[in-house]
Assembly symmetry: D2
Homo-oligomer: 281 residues x 4
């Protein structure tokens, strides 16, 4: 074959398998989203449409990768947890990492007009990604707690900051100055006393982030097909329209799963105790 004398260059492609038996978490971050949000006039401190678009893109990834059992999104980032024993693409790092990143990006651009119909996308946005391995369930829980705590801290800050600017008439410089050295309690009080905002009544989406959970559809529910599956501790949940086959494609009867969106607490025990399968083998 004509190409054969050059084909030796393939020998430079080295294997990159991820350690078996460890949990994979893949995190995506928006690239230069400060500019993106500013050029497209995202609402401050949160733009619900843009957040819903992120959730939609994440759900698209989960529809393709049945081994992703949980995802968490806030602002311009999203984290995906693969089930512990996933053997997707034989655990080849670059293959998994790039395919997920590409699918998410593609979905984000594709569905933009659906969520921001009056705001044409001015240029193609992008994301970067990484995979981090965690040996144990405890670390996985702490990872998600870390991201949700971050959501809380950022959102409380941003909410107060933009109240000072948009309602309080401060410049952004003044607002940063006003907030310097304040702790959580100070910001809660500032919001309440000066702007009559009860932080705890703000939408859970902003305070808790978005949690996408793959849940098995009980056989009964499957019979009724599209009925809603909402576990009681899920404060806000939307049911995915199309249920999807998944999780264990081996001979045994496939368990049908659906992907639920929630904005609930994932730092405490309750979330995990009622979903032990998320961290199981």
């Amino acid at each position: 074959m004509a190409g054969s004398k050059f084909a030796y260059v393939r020998n430079f492609e080295l294997p990159d398998p991820l350690l078996p038996g460890a949990f994979m978490i893949l995190r995506l971050d928006g690239h230069a989203f400060h500019r993106l949000s500013s050029e497209h006039d995202f609402t401050k401190p949160n733009d619900e449409r843009a957040l819903q678009l992120m959730d939609h893109a994440a759900r698209g990834v989960m529809n393709e990768f049945k081994d992703i059992v949980l995802a968490f999104g806030e602002s311009d980032e999203y984290s995906f947890l693969f089930r512990k024993l996933s053997n997707v693409y034989n655990r080849r790092q670059a293959k998994i990492l790039t395919t997920v990143t590409s699918m998410f990006t593609s979905s984000y651009v594709y569905h933009w007009p659906q969520y921001l119909p009056d705001t044409p996308l001015k240029y193609p946005p992008s994301f970067d990604g990484r995979i981090v391995l965690y040996p144990s369930a405890k670390e996985v829980r702490d990872y998600f707690a870390w991201r949700q705590a971050d959501t809380h801290i950022n959102n409380l800050y941003n909410t107060t900051f933009w109240a000072l600017v948009l309602q309080g008439g401060e410049t952004t410089t003044q607002a940063h100055e006003t907030l310097k050295g304040t702790v959580s309690k100070d910001k809660h009080e500032m919001l309440f006393s000066r702007f009559s905002i009860n932080y705890n009544l703000l939408p859970a989406r902003y305070r808790k982030g978005s949690i996408l959970i793959r849940e098995p559809i009980p056989p009964a529910a499957q019979a009724h097909s599209e009925s809603a599956i909402v576990s009681p501790d899920v404060s806000t949940a939307e049911v995915q329209a199309a249920s999807t086959p998944a999780l264990k494609p081996e001979k045994k009867a496939r368990v049908k799963t659906t992907v639920i969106l929630a904005h609930c607490d994932i730092i405490g025990d309750e979330f995990w105790a009622s979903r032990e399968y998320l961290l199981a083998d």
Copy 2:
């Protein structure tokens, strides 16, 4: 800080620097493009619009990454060569790999309507990617020769195959059968004798693939600003509208560069001899 007791999970993010001094080639491949081309009725054996869209997306990547000095595209794949001493993102593998993959994908989706205005995109397409390191210039040349030889082989086969099907009235099964065991010369003759097609007169884009070359703009040309820079061996070239600053951002005066599209031979010596800077330090 609230998040600090969980922040230890960051310690699981391990460094992934690529070996300095080696050439990086990043190759993207379309994910399930057989289905994409079929669902969107791509012209057989080549859809010029879809190929131009690939070129556009690749050019977008090169506009962002000034350290990419050369790219080669065929069908649903694109390869990018970074200059040898590139220190982009401190050579962090996942960062480089995902950012490029994401930008390319985003651009592909974003610009689709411009190239296939009558064919709405039915769902978000995606790409996977990998980075391969090559220690020496010889291997880099052989890498690109490998891809261009592959383009030739595939295109000759596909051109003959679709002539048999579309003009010769064969089924796809029959056409595969007809071509079994044939060599290059047989296909050339078959094309010429049965379908009056002189393979060598077909568009260079199909036969040679797309080559995107970063070229320095000579100071004189810079003065005249947008004038075309076409080196004599470039059979087909389009000049990038906006020239871009680049390549060596250090104190010395930046050399302005432009990205040229060509469909020329890159297997022989001529291409490389006239562009030694591509493989230089």
Copy 3:
């Protein structure tokens, strides 16, 4: 400094940290020990002196690396388990791997005359090594079960093989032929009926391999200083002469530890149930 213009070559030394929170097992294997055992007339099927030398070298490694909590040896190989949260050498792979391999080798050569006083070492023997990461305790237990099952299989085969040769007068070719297709039970019977050997009464060292266990010295025992610490399920145990400080060098009072040699079962639950600290955080 004179060397500074060349010092850039250090930038090619890339980091190689091992994933935190995963168990490290480092396994050493003798290099060309078939030749070594033959040139030094090792007793067949087991040479107790050579095995004791291996144990001595392994103990030397454990005296230097307090984070090694367990080791298993058979024939010309030894496996070392580091405690889960070990941060030895900041978990740099090459540093850990080469230092342990080198210490073991050095100790083996250094102590040879003590174990084989009448057999001068004819040339310097060597070992190779590797580190394997295991995310969970279960896999670590299965690793050691794998090695001990291997010990059993090899030893039963070798014992029968050499009985056939040395006592049965068969050639080595004949002995291999005799054993072809036999299962465990057949070999046990062959040993008993033809050679009056009750396999289960052979030394535990040969049947079970060597287990080196780091055990805490209870404060009481520490007071009495050198008294023997033997847990009841340890069939054969030798107490290390000098007790060694260890395990958690942080502020809290150091727990003194000692390294025990045993030749007991490590496949069943009992061994692990009575030593939960081996696999703890």
Copy 4:
């Protein structure tokens, strides 16, 4: 087989191939040699016997690994260069790294009595090692220049330091103080004026380090068998007693090689210009 239910643990052994086509340099460093030299009364500033032992151990490694074409030693470290296209052990990193480290260590301990017959080794010494990849010949040259420049700097300092202490009667603290802020020229003068030592007349071994070079034996020389091969720029050379087969084991007639010890300059061009094969493909 009994072990088969546990054999899955082998799946955690991940591949670790080194990039093809890049030069491998493996560097060994003595572990805690400050203590070793002090406990065994090594002569200051250089102990010729200990250095010769290092050279012997390095030569032993080169006798086993025919793909090592050059080695450089100083003090308690040794660097080994593999020929560019070496495929030893399929370029598996841990295998190469540990085998070389182990062989060197073993040889060092084994041959100790031959070089320090009146100084029994008190305990087993050890080394650590690492492999660094270099894409090009220039970097390899600079690597060796870096080590030899380091030798020069250290030896000039140490020579002056110990002259001040042993001949000048200074304490070690005073000697460090005396040398603070001095440059090369100052030390040369101090040695000459105060101690009548012409630095440049000191043994080349101390000033230049030890260079082990694999050289082809010309067919003529092979006929005469053991005759000395000394190239003119090698200031001090000892010919290896036994010549060794090597370098290109493929079908072509094997070139016999011998390993030469020299203490010459390897920073300038001459050394490399007369031995182009060292850095060739």
